[in-house]
Symmetry: C2
Subunit: 342 residues, 2 copies
């Protein structure tokens, strides 16, 4: 049930009817007519799964001061909370069906914060055709804390897991890498990026603030890729998840990494930033493996989704991640800050 902020000490009584009215007014339309949302007035939502499909479910919290800055615009906070979850759904090869939103709003933010938050939520709910099916709102004494649960569906057996990679699989990634991590550095005023053009700075900051979950492409990969995840912790860190779960190693060609013009300009100015490209998080691109013979088909499918998909390496025997430059020798990825010599 989408209930009102509770301001009592123990959850007993004490509902503010004014707030309740506001919440109901702002959130009820976010069901965008899904009958199973029951107008956000019941104990739970009801959903059917298409025949032959399985449910995919994921939850992620974003917290002010941890995942976003306390003075970030509330509409962007809403979108970030939604999109990091939709990215997880896409990474399973699933289509989103709807979200549940548990929003803990700080009392001092007032109605304006909640209204802007709801506006951002509304824009994404429509953009991704992904209704709010249920939720909860609480007035918290702490920082804004938004937990979104995303529900999706994938053809049974077509789910993309982390443990399905095979030796020899080509490793591919959508879009470009490192923009978000560099964008965070721009937001923080890192001197290494001071020389970038304003256009490049703006591009990178936007990529940090607003993830682009690959919701159309994820389901396309179902049945074509053998393993997949979204790059949220950084390329190397997430690649290690595929390696560990698939009991394999991987080799990454640093010359093949897809970079935006802005990231390339940043690396030209400060090659040390390669570390951010390899290990920085928040890209929300899909990293996946597949047999070589499917690479061109997947590349073409990505283009139809308005994306690029780039081969960046290969799964190999072992358990380590190696990096090389083109035809150069492969070296174990050293981690820490020592990657700067690559």
């Amino acid at each position: 049930m989408m209930s009102s902020p509770e301001d009592s000490g123990g959850g007993s009584g004490g509902k503010g009817r004014g707030e309740f009215g506001l919440i109901a007014e702002l959130f009820a339309p976010l069901a965008i007519g899904h009958p199973g949302a029951l107008h956000l007035k019941d104990d739970a939502a009801i959903l059917s799964l298409p025949k032959g499909y399985r449910l995919v479910a994921t939850t992620d919290a974003v917290v002010a001061g941890v995942h976003f800055l306390p003075d970030d615009p509330p509409d962007l906070v809403a979108k970030k909370a939604v999109r990091v979850n939709l990215s997880d759904v896409a990474a399973m090869g699933a289509e989103p069906m709807g979200i549940l939103v548990a929003a803990c709003f700080p009392k001092e933010g007032g109605e304006a914060w909640i209204e802007a938050f709801a506006r951002g939520l509304s824009e994404d709910v429509h953009a991704y055709n992904c209704p709010v099916l249920g939720g909860d709102t609480v007035a918290t004494p702490g920082p804004a804390t938004i937990t979104v649960t995303a529900l999706g569906c994938a053809p049974a057996g077509g789910e993309l897991r982390r443990d399905g990679a095979k030796e020899g699989d080509v490793l591919m990634v959508t879009g470009t890498l490192g923009d978000a991590a560099l964008g965070l550095k721009v937001c923080r005023g890192d001197p290494a990026l001071a020389g970038l053009s304003e256009t490049h700075k703006a591009f990178l900051m936007d990529r940090y603030r607003l993830p682009r979950p690959r919701v159309s492409f994820g389901p396309v990969l179902s049945g074509m890729a053998r393993s997949c995840l979204d790059v949220s912790d950084g390329l190397i860190g997430d690649l290690k998840h595929i390696c560990e779960n698939s009991h394999l190693g991987a080799e990454v060609d640093l010359e093949a990494l897809p970079l935006s013009d802005a990231a390339r300009a940043a690396l030209d100015a400060a090659p040390v930033l390669l570390g951010s490209v390899l290990c920085g998080g928040d890209d929300y691109e899909l990293l996946f493996t597949l047999p070589e013979e499917r690479v061109e088909q997947v590349r073409a499918a990505a283009v139809r989704c308005g994306l690029t998909a780039t081969p960046i390496g290969r799964m190999v025997a072992g358990s380590e991640v190696f990096v090389r430059r083109g035809a150069g020798p492969a070296e174990p990825f050293a981690g820490g800050t020592s990657w700067s010599h690559y």
Copy 2:
């Protein structure tokens, strides 16, 4: 994915591997072998629905200082977070399939808090045979904030909604009413309850601290009741939800209200506490309506679940809630604090 607490300012990198190890060790077993949990290592969980069933999904957050006291035992906090959600699933007539847990742990709580929390979670996961299918953990600068999403399934068409009541339906409730609200008063040292025996005080406090979701009985009601919800906001408040959604009024017989010995002792000492019984929250009993001819069948079914189910009134035309004492005249429920004259 059950990820580690992030301590960076922007979510980029900075995972504490020590914490990650702790979280993985504590939470992975909570999947209790459900294959769809993917060992809590993937982007999302995968679930099948039994044929002919629909998914029921609900989410609720509990926040330290709002829904529980900051020094409440962490294992009880975990259980409360789980149970308020399982109660919502039961109120839909559904069986629980699993939960997703987004836990924001305050840094100052340390590992001991997290371990005790995980222990409580583990006990309930086993008690309700309800695996943790996924989640997220965050180190928050604010109060402990636990968001649980519960997933359940109900036979298609057998879901119990708030809008299905019919005029003339008998209104029934499981268990006893008001114990939790009175328990909160005991916790707070309310002088009106000072004269209660220690046994009664302990009983009431326990009812406040630890909800008993009616998980076995909810699915039994599917196909028998016409509308249902769980009493979380208080009898009258929640009854009004059924009234509003079903476009009906209701009549409650105050003499029929099921009361525990402890609540009866409290009311004998201070009749004014009837207000807490009628309007206090956190009972987590099921309030439901059904045709008169099914009352005895449902009563017997409740007994088989180790519960009582008590008729307390009837759905009537109109939109208001009326109260009466036995065969006495029905009066509109006055609300506020003026119920004390009933």
